[in-house]
């Protein structure tokens, strides 16, 4: 009985292969079929629910000033760093305008840019700067700013690093603390996994173009896990969103500037990334109302709980 089941599974598995084999080669080279096979990737169910033509959303209410008249649905997707703050603002927005439904989804900064450019969502979210190419397709609205701190164990004697030193440490050129004025010990580089917006922002702002984080780096799947790992290892170095800084780790001054929210606000702290809302063209109707709400006092107050408000 048991081997029979195993055989069956094998047969089915192979059948599955054979079945999908002819379907995929059908659209061969013209366009990569990766993202196109509609039902293949499930985690973005919002895409089908929003009908293909994106523009209709703003139409029903062309910038009404009376709050009670606002109605419709706004969809947002993208950066998971932006997601929690967007959810809080959306909740506040919806309680002010009961006729409006705001749907917030994750997916990562890449998804945010892509779906905003394609018009599958009303608003995309990204937790990094746009590339020049991306900037031609979508309009960014800076929601907040977030500093990235370079952190080490509390007992670390080194307390200032230059941006170039940070880059050399994370690319594996500097491997000993003694090379930067510390004890004669190996530096344990701890980073985030590929795909993390914090990692992307760090690589973009700190590392030279094209350089990548050393493959010897320990990778932790979240800001919290990274902080725990750094807090427990006297020789570790890592990077954290400002929102996660606490007294279990020590944040380096970069180029002599301490990693504080004030310095990030002033613009003197060098590793600051924007949290962006992206729209295709200028926002209209309720989407415009929502973005104005986010950038207004009510929205910025929510932003200020975790990040650096812009207004």
């Amino acid at each position: 009985m048991f081997p029979v089941a195993v055989m069956l599974v094998l047969v089915i598995a192979l059948a599955g292969c054979a079945q999908s084999a002819p379907t995929t080669p059908a659209p061969p080279s013209p366009k990569p079929p990766v993202t196109t096979p509609a039902p293949t990737t499930t985690p973005t169910p919002a895409l089908p629910t929003t009908p293909a033509p994106a523009p209709p959303t703003p139409k029903p209410s062309p910038t009404p000033t009376n709050p009670s008249e606002l109605s419709g649905t706004i969809t947002e997707a993208g950066s998971t760093t932006v997601q929690p703050v967007a959810e809080s603002i959306a909740a506040a927005f919806m309680s002010k305008y009961p006729g409006v439904k705001v749907v917030i989804q994750g997916g990562g900064s890449g998804v945010g840019v892509k779906s905003a450019a394609e018009g599958t969502v009303d608003i995309g979210a990204a937790s990094r700067e746009l590339t020049p190419e991306e900037a031609t397709k979508v309009t960014p609205h800076v929601l907040a700013k977030d500093g990235i701190a370079i952190v080490a164990h509390k007992s670390q004697t080194v307390s200032n690093l230059t941006k170039a030193q940070v880059a050399d440490i994370f690319t594996g050129k500097i491997t000993k603390w003694s090379q930067i004025g510390g004890p004669d010990k190996t530096i344990h580089v701890i980073a985030r996994e590929e795909g993390s917006g914090t990692r992307a922002a760090f690589e973009e702002m700190v590392l030279p173009k094209g350089a990548v984080i050393t493959s010897n780096a320990i990778l932790q799947p979240s800001n919290g896990a990274l902080r725990t790992a750094v807090a427990g290892d006297p020789d570790a170095i890592g990077f954290l969103s400002f929102g996660y800084l606490d007294d279990t780790v020590k944040a380096f001054s970069i180029d002599g500037i301490p990693a504080t929210v004030e310095n990030a606000k002033k613009g003197t702290y060098p590793i600051v990334r924007p949290l962006l809302f992206l729209t295709k063209g200028e926002p209209k109707g309720i989407v415009k109302e929502f973005i104005n709400f986010c950038l207004g006092p009510a929205g910025q107050e929510i932003v200020a709980k975790d990040y650096i408000p812009v207004n």
Partner: protein
Amino acid sequence: MSRYLKDRLATYFVFACASMSFLILLAIAIFIFKGGFPAFYEIGFFDFLFGTTWRPNQGTYGILTMIVGSLAVTAGSLILAVPLGISCAILLAEVAPYKVRQVLRPCIELLVGIPSVVYGLVGLILLVPAIRKIGGNGFSVLGASIVLMAMVLPTIISISEDAIRAVPSSYKEGALALGATHWQTIRQVLLPVARSGIGASIVLGMGRAVGETMAMIMVIGNSITFPKSPLDAARTLTGNIAVEINYASGIHESALFATGIVLFFFILFLNSVAVVVLKRGTYDQRIT
């Protein structure tokens, strides 16, 4: 008549329930194959399986380092767990007095019930700093192997014990009657006869080791490199999926599904081996 009908209905009912588990397996298989196929098509089967670089941001997807990582951790955990597990099984089946067994058995069974994240947490708090003192940064194949050992032990112990107990008592009595000591009987009669059951216990433990995820992420470091020593960090196939799925989209996501397909065949292979080993045992008993 109505009794007959009831009987039939009950049969259909249990049959339907039993089919569910098969249907679930089928659904999972279809799901991961559908999700992973674009990656195989786009990246190429061999480039994916034997590529040594995994950099989704640059569009390079090779999982060889993770295959090696999974194998290293599994091998490490078995090297630690097999001698321990079999010794413990011998103790429980043959040596220990009744009272000791009454205490030990539930303890070992309780090990199965501990959530894997708790194993990971203990590993992270206790093992990682301890290993850091030996060398490296603490996140290592060694630590992961020790954590996995604890997770695999109950499987090996309980199945091996059952196998040793299943040896007909006439074999043991015969050996003792011929003047063999208790230890000689265990070593030369009981263990050889029970070896297929013991083998199956090891293979099943291996299956658990390959599939373990959460505890691995917490102690192994998740670096995408070949571990050169037990003190080096590595990444497992399961960890690769769990660490990156949150942010993955498009081909990256598909590559993670494809990692799942590789795991699927790993486990399928191991289970088939277990079935074969167990089956062969029934003949072996007569020959030995």
